[in-house]
């Protein structure tokens, strides 16, 4: 509740000694939630979301990115139904045609409509991006929490493993995983998810370490809270904002990684209109029909850009250290 002075809390009644709720408040600077320069925006505890939204709204780039992402999600849902052509409909009499009114983004080497394929591919690229990061984030977060909370040999072991994973060239790992599991979209997701695990583990571990020694966790511990409860109720929520930020930023990376796997012929199996695969096949026509690579490339670029800018905005809005 905002405590404002225009409407005194106790109206015009007789003066009382009691303040709000009868609680005595010391006139000391020490424990008040006040910025050091004596400036106080709000005395009130507004909901975290409102607070976040206020900060986020101010970032124009991030807002534009968020709008674009919403558009992408809509396309992912309804894309194929608004596409002018079937994404796998070949037309050998109209191959590699440039953009025109019939084919907004031209046609590819089989005469398929690139615009329709990009629309159909939105769902795939977003799915690959979201699900692979989700898998990586969940596993990485759990490992990071365990590692940071329990410390000692558990920590040492998890961190060494993640070091090794980080040092492992992604390409080799991807080839290995896909060779072992076989080609296909789901295995691409697994391969990309594995890249993300050590990164999330590291980030969550360091925030866990910081949170572990904070007053409120110490307090909860002294009250006899169990480890598991402590981790889930007290530490995990504290790491959540960092995880959300990295989650968003990793989506872009994941989409790019999946595209590079397709580029190396290890990605989605044809004729799946995965953007990376489309870009890769367009590479053969860079001089002759650059639009074949241009439009999927643009789709990847804009999507990754949007997720990165959105992630940047989230971080600025969620990170308590960066104040407006």
């Amino acid at each position: 509740m905002p405590q404002s002075f225009e409407k005194p809390a106790h109206g015009s009644g007789p003066p009382t000694l009691a303040g709000a709720g009868g609680q005595a408040v010391e006139p000391s600077a020490a424990e008040l939630p006040v910025a050091r320069d004596g400036f106080q925006t709000e005395l009130t505890v507004s909901s975290p979301f409102t607070e976040f939204w206020k900060k986020f709204r101010k970032q124009k780039l991030a807002m534009a990115a968020a709008a674009f992402i919403i558009l992408l999600l809509v396309i992912a849902l309804i894309g194929p139904s608004i596409a002018p052509y079937r994404m796998d409909q070949p037309d050998y009499n109209n191959m590699l045609a440039g953009p025109s009114l019939q084919h907004l983004c031209g046609t590819d080497e089989f005469g398929r409509d690139i615009f329709s394929r990009i629309l159909a591919g939105t769902r795939i690229s977003l799915w690959v991006g979201l699900s692979s990061v989700a898998v990586g984030a969940v596993i990485g977060t759990i490992l990071g929490l365990i590692s940071g909370y329990y410390g000692k040999w558990v920590d040492a072991m998890i961190m060494r493993i993640s070091d090794v994973l980080l040092a492992f060239p992604g390409i080799l790992l991807a080839i290995g995983i896909i060779a072992i599991l076989g080609p296909g979209l789901n295995n691409v997701i697994i391969a990309v998810a594995i890249f993300g695990i050590p990164i999330f583990a590291r980030i969550v571990r360091s925030s866990t370490l910081a949170l572990k020694s904070t007053v409120y966790v110490e307090a909860a511990r002294s009250l006899g809270a169990r480890n598991r409860r402590l981790i889930w109720k007290h530490i995990f929520p504290g790491t959540a904002s960092t995880v959300i930020v990295y989650f968003t930023m990793r989506i872009g990376t994941a989409i790019l990684t999946a595209a590079s796997l397709s580029f190396l012929g290890l990605g989605a199996q044809p004729p799946t209109p995965e953007w990376g695969a489309m870009l890769s096949s367009g590479r053969d026509y860079l001089t002759q029909a650059p639009h074949v690579a241009f439009f999927p490339g643009m789709a990847i670029f804009l999507t990754v850009l949007a997720f990165n800018l959105f992630g940047d905005g989230l971080r600025d809005a969620l990170d308590p250290k960066i104040k407006g």
Partner: protein, 338 residues
């Protein structure tokens, strides 16, 4: 009457965030004379720090802006100076000490360099001369083995030592005005006493005017010649230190004094002012303290009290000043005081 070093008139500093405006400093007048130590007292959030930052031109990107008033420093209106001109004054003719000695020093630079760079900049001394000047100032603030300290980093020093370094830094160019923003709050009690002692000595020796910002009236009694009590962006009371402690003219000042522990007074409990310092987004209709005031009347809620004479060189912003101090209802306006 001595010449004023600093004369603040009608200063208004507002903070702009989103669609709101917060009037952190709302029409403050303060005057500090040569060699005088003025205590600026009030709770957190009352606008005392913002006042000092406005004077120093350090509002920076806090979101605050001076929207009205003037700040004359040695005859120049600081608010009309360019950034460059302000920089020439800052750290040279006027300097500042902050509340947090632990974080106010750059952790990656050696102590010697941190003091010397200001000296080199303002006094145009070469490296060698600047160094000896640093040494001199460090000794002056009572730092033992100054030579060694110069080569050390802040983390190697205790809080008290760091605050001495801060003072040395502030005094290194012999400023005419020193603003000390709660310089002892973050320190242990024993260290506090040492630092206050040091400041008093320096003040006597260099005759520097000091604006001493604190919420601790005990420190004010110890250090200051004159006191300004601020509340919710406004000056509530202004008087010489002795007068203020003897005859507090404002219920708020009384409250503050009541919360001060007195030795041998037999007091069982410290007094408490209920509530918090309010924040204003719109101009309130009545006295800003009314909500927390136990002497509140209807008039208090309706009309803003002006600063009324409450005694010799003594002003208080209260309709009922007389009732408190036993002094005749002040008809004298502020001008009459000066």
């Amino acid at each position: 009457m001595k010449k004023p070093v600093l004369e603040i008139t009608g200063l208004q500093t507002h903070f702009f965030s989103d669609d709101e405006v917060v009037r952190a400093v709302d029409g403050v007048d303060i005057r500090i004379e040569e060699g005088q130590t003025l205590g600026l007292v009030g709770e957190s959030g009352c606008g005392k720090s913002v006042t000092s930052l406005s004077v120093m031109g350090l509002l920076g990107d806090t979101g605050g802006k001076v929207v009205a008033g003037s700040v004359f420093f040695k005859g120049k209106d600081l608010l009309r100076l360019s950034d460059k001109e302000m920089r020439r004054l800052r750290g040279h003719e006027m300097s500042m000490i902050f509340q947090e000695p632990m974080t106010s020093l750059n952790p990656t630079l050696r102590i010697g360099e941190q003091i010397a760079e200001g000296i080199r900049l303002h006094l145009a001394l070469d490296k060698k001369k600047a160094r000896s000047r640093v040494l001199e100032t460090l000794k002056a603030v009572g730092i033992p083995r100054a030579e060694g300290i110069m080569r050390e980093y802040p983390y190697q020093l205790s809080g008290g030592m760091r605050q001495r370094v801060m003072i040395a830094m502030a005094m290194s160019c012999e400023p005419d005005l020193l603003i000390a923003d709660e310089p002892t709050t973050a320190l242990d009690v024993t260290i506090q006493a040492q630092i206050l002692d040091l400041m008093r000595k320096l003040k006597e020796k260099k005759e520097t005017a000091i604006m001493f910002i604190t919420h601790d009236l005990g420190v004010v009694a110890d250090m200051c010649d004159r006191v300004v009590v601020m509340y919710a962006g406004q000056v509530m009371e202004e008087a010489d230190a002795r007068e203020l402690f003897a005859n507090p003219g404002h219920p708020y000042t009384r409250g503050l004094l009541g919360s001060l522990p007195k030795l041998l007074s037999g007091q069982k409990r410290l007094g408490v002012i209920p509530g918090n310092v309010p924040v204003f987004k719109q101009v309130p209709s009545g006295c800003r303290f009314a909500g927390r005031c136990s002497y509140q009347t209807e008039k208090c809620l309706r009309e803003v009290p002006p600063l009324l004479k409450a005694g010799d060189r003594h002003l208080a912003r209260c309709w009922q000043t007389f009732g408190l101090a036993g002094v005749e209802a002040g008809t004298a306006d502020k001008a009459g005081l000066q």
